[in-house]
């Protein structure tokens, strides 16, 4: 019976499906509301950003469907090529990437541009799930741990060269996956201590990073605290029920590039505490669903894929909201499904497909 179930496709996780669609649709509505002004002033078309995002979303939905219909065990075989692909793409972006806002993050393919770091996240989830599953018996040993981390570091380094925040996300996913697979606890505590130590050294190395902390503590005193402060103005302006969808004033150029990292502040302004909490709870439900799927997965590989997606989602959502609310120093992390970004939404949906696949096979 069990064998049979594993081999044949079961039912789609309807709860997850509803949550994902809710997020995608809400995301598009909010994106339009937020980006209309910037699109109009920069490109003379208030639908400029929405159109691009819609295109990416439909591409992503197609990808999600295809991946959901595919037995996720197929990815065991493709884990290594996916990993190599990620490394190559990251090298390519360093050599021939396009610069935007001072960061080399994009690869141009004709009319489309593509952000390899977004791809790297999903590739790493598959690769790590595979390699951890393969080494699960020795996972408690420090040597195995280091060996796995050795695989992760090249990608972290390559991505981190241009996009530190994404590198931190990838590292976070890796740590969570190993933690989930390992029966031990103590070494992770040490890892956390070590990580904090490295973080301190890393911050002290460059004065601009320490400056960020100073700005975080007192954004009103620094010119560079502008973005943070404008985000706070937007959040504070929202109050309990917000100004109503479309009525944000902070998005009118006050919050720079409001459709990107700071989009959550505009949600707060337009939809208030109630609306913002609804979005956060939607994300929490999504993470809960990943958790349920992960714990109900028939094998470790599937469990780790779902856990990886969960790790990815929680790190990005938590960091983004923490940054926007000035709970932690500023770092550029987008809000999944809602922030503008074509590559991001395509691979997020593909990642959802993976989780659907885990849930149903």
């Amino acid at each position: 019976m069990e064998q049979e179930e594993r081999r044949s496709q079961g039912k789609t996780d309807k709860v997850l499906l509803v949550i994902v669609f809710l997020l995608v649709i809400t995301g598009l509505v909010i994106l339009y509301s937020t980006s209309a002004y910037n699109g109009k002033t920069k490109f003379g078309d208030s639908f400029y950003y929405l159109k691009k995002q819609l295109f990416a979303t439909s591409l992503g939905l197609a990808g999600m469907y295809a991946v959901a219909k595919t037995d996720y065990h197929m990815w065991e075989k493709l884990a290594v090529p996916a990993y190599i692909g990620a490394v190559l793409l990251c090298v390519a972006v360093m050599l021939v990437g396009d610069e935007y806002n001072g960061s080399k993050r994009w690869l141009s393919l004709g009319p489309f541009s593509f952000q390899p770091s977004e791809y790297a996240k999903i590739a790493l989830i598959i690769f790590l799930s595979w390699i951890v599953t393969k080494n699960v018996k020795k996972i408690g040993k420090l040597g195995t741990l280091l060996k796995i981390m050795l695989w992760v570091l090249p990608v972290v380094g390559l991505v981190g060269a241009s996009n530190l925040s994404t590198a931190v996300i990838i590292l976070g996913i890796a740590v969570i996956l190993i933690f989930a697979a390992s029966p031990k606890y103590a070494q992770f505590v040490w890892m956390a201590v070590l990580g904090c130590g490295f973080m301190g050294i890393f911050l002290a190395l460059e004065s601009y990073r320490l400056e960020r902390i100073a700005i975080w503590q007192n954004p009103e005193k620094y010119e560079k605290g502008y973005q943070t402060l404008q985000g706070l103005y937007a959040i504070g302006s929202g109050g309990l029920f917000g100004k109503g969808l479309g009525s944000s004033i902070q998005k009118l150029g006050f919050v720079p590039e409001a459709q990107n990292d700071m989009i959550f502040s505009i949600i707060c302004e337009e939809l208030g505490l109630v609306g913002a909490s609804f979005i956060v709870i939607l994300f929490l439900l999504l993470i809960w669903r990943f958790f349920v799927i992960s714990t109900h997965a028939k094998d470790l590989f599937g469990a780790l894929i779902a856990a990886g997606a969960m790790a990815h989602m929680m790190i990005q959502v938590i960091l983004n909201i923490a940054v926007v609310t000035n709970t932690i120093p500023n770092t550029g992390i987008t809000l999944p499904f809602i922030s503008y970004g074509g590559t991001s939404v395509v691979f997020l949906l593909v990642e959802m497909g993976l989780v659907f696949s885990v849930a149903s096979w």
């Binding site: 989930a180 956060v280 997965a297 028939k298 470790l300 969960m310 929680m314 938590i318 909201i321």
Partner: protein
């Protein structure tokens, strides 16, 4: 590989951590959006709102009968917004035609790449409306208030004018600024980060509150007539300037204050000397300051023989002289080692005190001054209020320039007794004499009577001017009234006489410093009716050419004014003038 229990537990731990953190973030959101909301909201609003002032209409200044002397006129500013102009050629043509400007000038403004360019300011409302009706794209007509003085030169130095921000610069406009200015309104518009106003969001408007109406004691008709008289005599005598002052000696209300030449209040920055002589800014500013000076208040002069009224009052009050005391004038008086001459070369011979006043005889007053002594003289000087400012409600009143008490020797005392060697302002002379002949109480000369609401016309505030303490006895006052009436009816002031009216007065002719320049100030001070003074007038002619005697040139001016003003004020002829 199996998904083992410990794997599930660990994933559970990760999930629990996520829940804790997310709940923590919701908590943070609650804090920001409930407790800090007001703080950030205010900051955000301050950032979004652009404030534009709506100018408040400045209060009017009206004369005692309600005639408007200072008001506001709506003027327009025509500007062009470069980015919104669709048909530049049409705009250039129509604007240059309507505004009467050179096409070249208009073209320069229209074609200039700037956010907004002023084409012409102070365009009258009619023209502004016409341009607005053309509905040219990119052309903006803004309305504004401009202070307007319908009678241009009338009482220019009294009323004063306003500057670019509609604030008073000189005169009553400064003194009563707080009542006149009103309160500007505000338009609070919400803008985007580029400062562009958002059309969908209703703007907050705080309506401006118009300034209050100031009613002053000046009488338009009297002022106008006095000004004409001043102009006439100035031209006839080719004088430097002429001041005429009329007031009610009973309560200090000033009916007219002319400082000829006046200037056009609607063009206060253009010199009234005419012609556009090239000069640097500093020089021009100096000349403008001169032009704006109110001589009656800002400048002092040696009062000369008019001051004898004060010497006489002090002496009578102190009892050092009686009206029928006999004096002898040989044409001079020796004081210490100096021989101080009377204006009549041969002397007046034997005369009573009253005749001495009628003749304006200097030796008589030197004698009387000596009897009084410098100490008592100075005491009276102070008692009469001459050492203090009059408190007139105009800015920049000059103080009296006087010897120090301990420096007054016989010579100084002698010259002071007939009004020389010290200086006072004309307003001080008028106020002091008013107080001596009105029954003996010091009055405060003033213009401001009351403040009325511009909308309802109701009185908001009346200015109280207390009639101050007695400075001279009623008896002395009455005696002075009689003596001064006789000066006009029989003495040196006879040119001020009008058949049927009892007019009191005193003439003066004083040489200005330096004496070698041979410049004179001729003046006459008169009041009527002499036994119950209702109006007191003073005419001062600065540096007249030819005949310069006050009795000859200044008294007739006052006579003409009284001739018209007394009936106008309803003061009836009593018939028994000349004895």
């Amino acid at each position: 590989m199996k998904n083992k229990t410990y794997n599930k537990r660990k994933i559970c731990i990760v999930f629990a951590l996520a829940v804790i953190m997310i709940v923590g973030l919701i908590g943070r959101l609650c804090y920001l959006m409930i407790f800090e909301a007001e703080y950030y909201q205010k900051k955000a609003e301050a950032l979004h709102e652009r404030e534009r002032d709506i100018k408040a209409a400045r209060g009017e200044i009206v004369d005692r009968n309600g005639k408007v002397l200072a008001t506001n006129r709506t003027v327009c500013t025509v500007s062009v917004i470069h980015s919104q102009i669709k048909e530049p050629e049409k705009v250039i043509k129509l604007l240059s035609d309507t505004l009467g400007m050179e096409e070249k000038e208009v073209r320069k403004r229209v074609e200039k790449v700037s956010s907004m360019e002023r084409v012409k300011t102070n365009v009258d409302k009619e023209t502004g409306d016409k341009i607005r009706e053309m509905e040219l794209e990119g052309v903006k007509v803004d309305e504004d208030f401009k202070r307007y003085y319908p009678y241009e030169e009338l009482a220019s130095k009294v009323l004063g004018f306003t500057g670019g921000d509609n604030q008073g610069i000189i005169g009553l406009e400064v003194k009563y600024e707080d009542y006149l200015k009103g309160e500007n309104g505000k338009i609070l518009a919400t803008t985007d980060a580029r400062g562009i106003e958002l059309p969908d969001i209703a703007e907050d408007r705080i309506e401006p509150r118009a300034g209050n109406t100031l009613r002053i004691s000046l009488d338009y008709n009297i002022q106008e007539y006095a000004q004409q008289m001043a102009q006439k005599v100035m031209e006839e005598k080719q004088a430097d300037k002429v001041a005429i002052l009329l007031m009610n000696p009973q309560n200090g209300e000033i009916l007219a204050m002319v400082n000829y030449p006046e200037f056009n209040l609607n063009e206060p920055f253009e010199l009234n000397t005419g012609g556009d002589v090239q000069m640097d800014d500093e020089k021009k500013q100096e000349l403008l300051n001169q032009m704006w000076r109110n001589g009656c208040i800002n400048d002092t002069y040696e009062p000369g023989s008019v001051f004898k009224i004060i010497t006489a009052s002090a002496s009578l009050e102190e009892g050092v002289v009686e009206t029928d005391d006999q004096f002898f004038c040989p044409g001079y008086k020796i004081v210490e080692d100096r021989r101080i001459r009377c204006h009549k070369a041969g002397g007046h011979g034997s005369e009573t005190f009253v005749q001495g006043v009628q003749n304006s005889c200097n030796p008589v007053f030197m004698e009387v001054g000596q009897r009084l002594g410098s100490e008592r003289f100075c005491d009276y000087f102070e008692q009469f209020g001459l050492m203090e400012k009059t408190g007139v409600d105009l800015p920049g009143e000059a103080g009296t320039i006087m010897h120090r008490r301990e420096d007054i020797g016989e010579v100084e005392l002698a010259t002071m007794s007939f009004g020389q060697s010290f200086q006072v302002t004309p307003i001080q002379m008028a106020a002091t004499v008013s107080s001596l002949i009105n029954g003996g109480k010091r009055i405060t000369p003033h213009f401001g009577m009351e403040v009325k609401s511009a909308e309802t016309g109701k009185t908001i505030k009346e200015f109280p001017y207390k009639k101050e303490e007695r400075i001279v006895s009623e008896e002395t006052c009455e005696t002075m009234q009689k003596i001064l009436e006789s000066v006009v009816s029989e003495g040196s002031g006879k040119n001020g006489y009008i058949e049927g009216y009892k007019i009191g007065g005193k003439t003066a002719t004083s040489q200005t410093l330096p004496r070698s320049a041979n410049k004179y100030i001729s003046s006459f001070l008169g009041f009527a009716p002499a036994d119950d003074p209702q109006v007191l007038g003073m005419c001062i002619i600065y540096n007249p050419q030819g005949i310069y005697y006050g009795g000859t040139i200044a008294a007739p001016v006052m006579r003409q004014i009284f001739d018209a003003v007394l009936p106008y004020l309803g003061i009836e002829k009593t018939g028994n003038g000349r004895k």
